[in-house]
């Protein structure tokens, strides 16, 4: 099967945009920069849509949901060394199609939004070239047919993220955050690389489909090796998707421009880990142990991040921790083998979280850069579009019935509950996290939009059209995005790639749903009491539990612990043990000893060279005399000497 439009166009268009704006952007007029920047993702989106309609155009809803298709396109050879053969090869199947729709669609909207948001920035062209570069790598990541090409995209999005977090590089904290993101991601990539090496060693190929065939042809393949591979891949995924213990870079990544946070650090890049696990699910399916680890990591992250989100006052940081927490849900979904549910949540999360960030950006824009929620308030009247779209997103993430997040979160929790006794525990933690989620999201909602303005100097105003239109579109998607799963159509669509959805809880599901909704309502109610009815009571609560509050506020001191346990010892080891003791004292000492011996020898021999002409002459005469004596009397002696030399 071939695609209508060549698949390579999808990454190539943003790459062209990156090159044009990156090289010429400084000299181009602003409208042209904007045009290039916007057209690139739009073009990709159109190519994806065109291919989709080409495939399903004549199939009526919902028949196409069950159709099977898979397009593989080889563009060229990348690496061909020994028996290792890695082509530039793209695959369009149900999973990558869905992911591409999200990436290019949401990506386009965020590009559009950025036109307004970044309007006054001096390095407008640089911003858009980076953003296009990101889209290039992200589409490569999604489309790749083999692990190594996926790794290319994987590292590439990390690079784009590094560049964009540190976009305002003159700000020390932004530059630090970019560096931190890259290095922490590298630690994850270390695991990914080891996983790739293991895959080469055990499969001899890196192509997903070939590996899947090998796995299915060999039922005995399980346990040890597969578990190790899966755990290595998981390390990679925890880095990119900000899971425990490598989540630390994501909150700091909020130093970047807000649309970047929306696109990269909420909707697309950070979900790459989930996508990778879904892509390699045939491996994870063979290792129950690795799956349990995925589920536990996800659940713990969800809970852990949610608790930290409770007390943050920076609007973007609340959203960052919430992203970490929601990604935890997706990992939980993967961990209970409900990959399609995880992907479903990935999609809805992309809608509502992008919307939340863009809304927050709109608020920050209106508040002239202020990010502290304690200084906001009462914005409901002044920014109606932002308010209503944000409301849709808050309802969606909190799991209010009918909104998109409700369906996807419910699907994950139901799958968890159905997954044995460990699953029940995980379900419980997940449900508690849902309560916390509702609480902190409504806290944000109340603090930002209700009450009265706390900052007298600010003159908030509604954002321009280029910013509000994407908000509106995402708002609609946040509301309706979940409806695709009603009746199971969504799962049927992904089934050819991810397999059928595991057994559901059946009639229990409605009970579970009820509990989740009740918990969400409870979270809303608590936020309503604390932040709307009695505005001072949150403060009182914090003062009542100073230790807990402080630990949460300082984010469990994880950054400090890492610094003390990892960074400082490494630097100390390098400086004191390696540099001073080994390099300077031991190796330098040895070299000095060698040099010293030579110098000493020289100093002794140097005495011969007194500069005194007569002593030279005396030595000369003595030497001549000795030579003469040797010639005359040394014949016998010389023979002995020659014999000694021979043996």
């Amino acid at each position: 099967m071939t695609a209508i439009f060549p698949l390579w166009l999808i990454p190539a268009l943003p790459f062209a945009g990156f090159l044009l704006n990156g090289i010429l952007g400084r000299r181009l007029p602003k409208w042209l920069v904007t045009g290039i920047a916007i057209l690139a993702p739009l073009g990709s989106f159109v190519v994806v849509l065109g291919n989709m309609f080409g495939m399903f155009g004549d199939m009526p809803w919902p028949i196409f949901l069950s159709s099977d298709f898979r397009v593989v396109e080889n563009v060229g050879t990348w690496l061909n060394v020994g028996s290792l053969h890695v082509p530039f090869s793209f695959t369009l199947d149900h999973l990558s199609l869905l992911m591409l729709l999200v990436v290019t669609g949401v990506g386009f909207l965020i590009h559009l939004y950025s036109v307004g948001y970044m309007e006054h920035d001096g390095a407008y062209w640089r911003y858009f070239s980076y953003l296009n570069l990101f889209l290039f790598f992200m589409t490569v990541l999604v489309l790749s047919s083999n692990v190594l090409l996926m790794f290319v995209g994987w590292e590439g999005v990390g690079l784009a993220s590094y560049l964009l977090i540190g976009f305002w590089y003159q700000k020390q904290s932004a530059a630090d955050a970019g560096k931190k993101a890259f290095i922490v991601n590298r630690i994850g990539d270390f695991g990914f690389l080891i996983g790739i090496f293991l895959l080469i060693a055990n499969f001899g190929t890196l192509t997903f489909s070939d590996m899947a065939v090998q796995v299915s042809a060999n039922p005995a393949l399980a346990g040890g090796v597969i578990t190790t591979i899966c755990l290595c891949l998981l390390v990679g995924a925890t880095g990119k998707s900000a899971q425990l213990p490598l989540y630390v870079w994501l909150p700091d990544a909020m130093e970047g421009p807000t649309p970047v946070s929306a696109l990269i650090h909420a909707a697309t890049m950070v979900t790459a880990g989930v996508y990778m696990i879904a892509r390699t699910h045939f491996l994870f399916d063979r290792s129950p142990y690795a799956l349990s680890v995925v589920a536990i990591v996800g659940t713990l992250t969800a809970l852990f991040a949610a608790t930290m989100a409770l007390v943050q006052t920076d609007i973007k940081r609340v959203l960052a921790y919430s992203t970490v927490s929601q990604l935890g849900y997706m990992f939980l979904g993967c961990g209970v083998a409900a990959y399609s549910a995880a992907i479903f949540h990935l999609m809805t999360h992309a809608f509502f979280k992008a919307l939340l960030f863009l809304g927050a950006g709109s608020v920050i824009h209106a508040m002239a850069g202020e990010q502290d929620m304690r200084k906001m308030g009462g914005l409901r009247k002044k920014m109606p579009i932002t308010f209503w779209t944000m409301t849709a997103a808050v309802f969606a993430i909190s799991g209010i019935p009918g909104f998109s997040g409700f369906f996807s979160k419910d699907a994950i929790l139901a799958s968890a509950f159905a997954d044995g006794s460990l699953g029940k525990v995980l379900w419980f933690v997940g449900a508690v996290t849902a309560l916390l989620t509702a609480f902190y999201m409504f806290r944000l909602w109340y603090m930002t939009f209700f009450g009265s303005t706390r900052d007298e100097h600010a003159h908030p105003h509604e954002s321009p059209l280029s910013m509000t239109v994407p908000l509106a579109i995402l708002g609609v998607l946040s509301v309706c995005g979940g409806w695709v799963a009603i009746g199971g159509g969504f799962y049927r669509f992904l089934a050819p790639v991810l397999g059928p959805r595991p057994e559901e809880a059946g009639s229990m599901e409605y009970g579970l749903m009820g509990i989740a909704v009740a918990l969400a309502a409870l979270g809303w109610y608590i936020a309503h009491r604390l932040y709307h009815q009695k505005p001072g009571s949150a403060q009182a609560l914090a003062e009542a539990m100073p230790a807990t509050y402080k630990i949460l506020l300082r984010k469990y001191y994880v950054d400090e612990i890492y610094a003390v346990l990892l960074v400082k010892p490494l630097l100390m080891l390098s400086r004191f043990v390696l540099e001073w003791v080994v390099d300077f004292a031991i190796l330098g000492g040895l070299a000095w000893l060698l040099g010293g011996t030579a110098t000493l020898g020289g100093a002794i021999l140097q005495r011969w060279q007194s500069g005194n002409l007569r002593s030279y002459a005396a030595w000369l005469a003595l030497g001549a005399a000795a030579l003469l004596l040797f010639l005359i009397f040394g014949h016998a002696m010389g023979q002995n000497f020659a014999i000694a030399v021979r043996y």
Binding site: Q606, Q609, S610, N612, R614, A618, A621
Partner: protein
């Protein structure tokens, strides 16, 4: 010729030559004045020259005498350069004592 040949054996020439050479060596080693040292060198050269001539005469070969001419040429050139250096050294250091001129060390 014959009488001379018979009268003075070659050993005598060689002994004289060795004496001259040894005198030169001793002079070179013990004299302090650079000029005297220089003259000692000439003495050594002449000692060697004498043995050259003696051997040339003994074996009826011109090579030894040609050598002597070479040595005399070199000695003349050396004398010119050497004296120039001595003058330069004297101008620079106001002394011709060999012990004082010890710049030839590291």
């Amino acid at each position: 010729m014959n009488a001379l040949h018979g009268a003075v054996p070659i050993a005598w020439y060689l002994i004289l030559s060795a004496l001259l050479f040894s005198l030169g060596v001793v002079g070179f080693l013990i004299k302090r004045n650079l000029i005297t040292v220089f003259m000692s060198i000439e003495l050594m050269l002449n000692g060697v020259n004498l043995s050259f001539v003696a051997f040339a005469h003994q074996w009826h070969q011109a090579k030894g005498q040609i050598f002597v001419f070479f040595v005399m040429m070199v000695a003349a050139a050396e004398a010119a350069v050497g004296l120039a250096i001595i003058i330069a050294v004297f101008r620079a250091r106001a002394t011709l004592a060999v012990d004082r001129i010890d710049l030839m060390k590291l």
